[in-house]
């Protein structure tokens, strides 16, 4: 489908541009303003140039060390949950019932965690994983494993990862299920006639058909895990120590906790630039895939 060139279309886009610019560009200008200044309180600001950015990007300074620690932690977290959630989501999507009442039943139950407010997710797991009143913590301790997510960094990580898998795998599964459902039956019949194995069907029919939705799933999951804040904040508060202090948590600590506006603003900008860069990579891959698909269809 070719689109016609029409610059009047801007009139349609203008309201959206206005409202998003109001809530995106205006606040970002405040951040830029803060990021080049220093304050000693009392609303007095001093020009600081690129000082904060130099500190931030130099791991040998206190601020830089803190920033890079949080950055690696966040990247590690995103990598782990992608490695678990994507294969698990595909497996669950393949295990969906084909028809009948079971479909709606599974869909509704699967979507349920997605609509729970994020701090309630944190609360649910905080309670569930406690060793005194929580089923999970109690059961694991009964098995003879010493488990305490508020004291042990590894336990805290495991709990947060399981929580995120619980919270978000359904998103990947639902996306994949949508992709699978769009495959015409004729493909499977052809595969059966050719005597294709289950694995061959998956590799050559189902996986390529899921490529597009998987891309969306990976994009959404990566971005949302990269800016995760509420759930770990409620569950561990970034602790024990700094073990689960992800970038967002560190940023809020710096901005709203210590009111170090200059440092926090510089950190926000770098954080945002990283997000935009990664987003651009995904966007390019996605639009290229679209263009290819368009060519195939023509």
């Amino acid at each position: 489908m070719t689109k016609t060139l029409n610059n009047k279309a801007w009139l349609f886009v203008l309201p959206v541009f206005g409202i998003v610019a109001f809530s995106a560009i205006l606040p970002l200008m405040t951040v830029v303003n803060y990021s080049v200044q220093d304050t000693f309180g009392n609303n007095q600001f001093f020009w600081n140039g690129v000082g904060w950015f130099q500190d931030l990007l130099d791991p040998s300074t206190q601020l830089g060390e803190r920033f890079f620690d949080a950055l690696w932690r966040t990247l590690l977290f995103s990598a782990i949950i992608l490695m678990i959630e994507v294969p698990l989501g595909i497996a669950v999507a393949l295990a969906m019932p084909r028809e009948g009442w079971g479909v709606a039943f599974c869909l509704v139950l699967m979507a349920l965690p997605l609509l729970i407010p994020w701090n309630v997710v944190g609360t649910i797991w905080q309670v569930f994983a406690r060793s005194d009143i929580g089923l999970l913590g109690w059961a694991v301790n009964r098995l003879g494993i010493d488990y305490n997510y508020t004291g042990d960094p590894l336990d805290a990580w495991v709990t947060i990862i399981i929580m995120d898998v619980w919270h978000w795998t359904s998103l990947v599964a639902l996306l994949c299920y949508a992709g699978l459902k769009s495959i015409p039956d004729a493909y499977f019949q052809a595969a059966r006639i050719d005597g294709a194995s289950r694995w061959a069907v998956f590799r050559t029919i189902q996986l390529p058909k899921m490529r597009r939705v998987l891309l969306i799933a990976v994009l959404l999951r990566f971005m949302d895990s990269f800016m995760i804040y509420t759930e770990p904040f409620v569950l561990t508060g970034g602790g024990p120590g700094n073990a689960t202090t992800f970038l967002s948590i560190d940023l809020v600590k710096l901005a709203l906790g210590q009111f170090d506006l200059g440092k926090a603003a510089a950190m926000s900008l770098v954080y945002n630039l990283i997000i935009i860069a990664i987003c651009w990579v995904f966007y390019t891959i996605m639009t290229n895939a679209d263009a290819q698909r368009g060519r195939v269809q023509e």
């Binding site: 349609f12 998003v20 295990a95 997605l114 309670v127 109690w138 619980w166 299920y177 459902k181 935009i276």
Partner: protein, 294 residues
Amino acid sequence: MTGTVAIGPSETKVSAAPLAANKAVPRPRVNGRVVVMTLYLLFLMLPIYWLVNMSLKTNTEITSGLTLWPQEITFQNYVTIFTDASWYSGYINSLTYVLINTVLSISFALPAAYAFSRYRFLGDKHLFFWLLTNRMAPAAVFALPFFNLYSAIGLFDTPWAVALAHCLFNVPLAVWILEGFMSGVPREIDETAAIDGYSFPRFFIKIFMPLIASGIGVAAFFCFMFSWVELLLARTLTSVNAKPIAATMTRTVSAAGMDWGLLAAAGVLTIVPGALVIWFVRNYIAKGFALGRV
């Protein structure tokens, strides 16, 4: 004709009966798909079951030992929430800003999505990408500047502040979803309507919007969802009058210790609106999560 049709099934039944009997010989065959699905749903439901279980217990029972179901069911926690204005007003506040946000996002996004799906224009790709980056922007970056901005324009501690702030990520998402659904509608419909003498607004409302009704429903569902689950901005932009329920929940920590039962009951009640909304869109859920792009 009717005679043969009537005989047909009964004949097959007779011949099928011995076969079925043969098959009924116990042959333990594990269905992998059912096992995976059951285990996964069990994993999803366990923490929720535990929350519901706790909300029906008294605090003494919760802290005195682990019980798999309430020994004596109490609804006191729920009664407290429904009778105490400081509790139930939290739900009203949350629902207010969520609904304002959903209506705003959809009405702003509809024309823009149409433009993106039908026309090329100066900077369209860059604009679309810029919108997308706002969907991905971390709320933590915006918390403080939003606080300054909405205090300055006098909207602080009103549902409007939260509703407008949530537009940051919901408007781009709505544009993205609606664009996907609109691109599935053939352009010929637009052209035919124009030839038939429909003015653009009439065409859009009378013909086009019913065609993408499911898309509008899905977009509304997602706006509802992301506005309902977000807390960082909602908490930063409110203090007393528009405080969302999720922030009210922190009240259960008091000098007397944690009121676990009340906390659990409040948690269960935050799940209910989401569950209701899912029920209404259950037939579109799969396509919706693919953002109209399958």
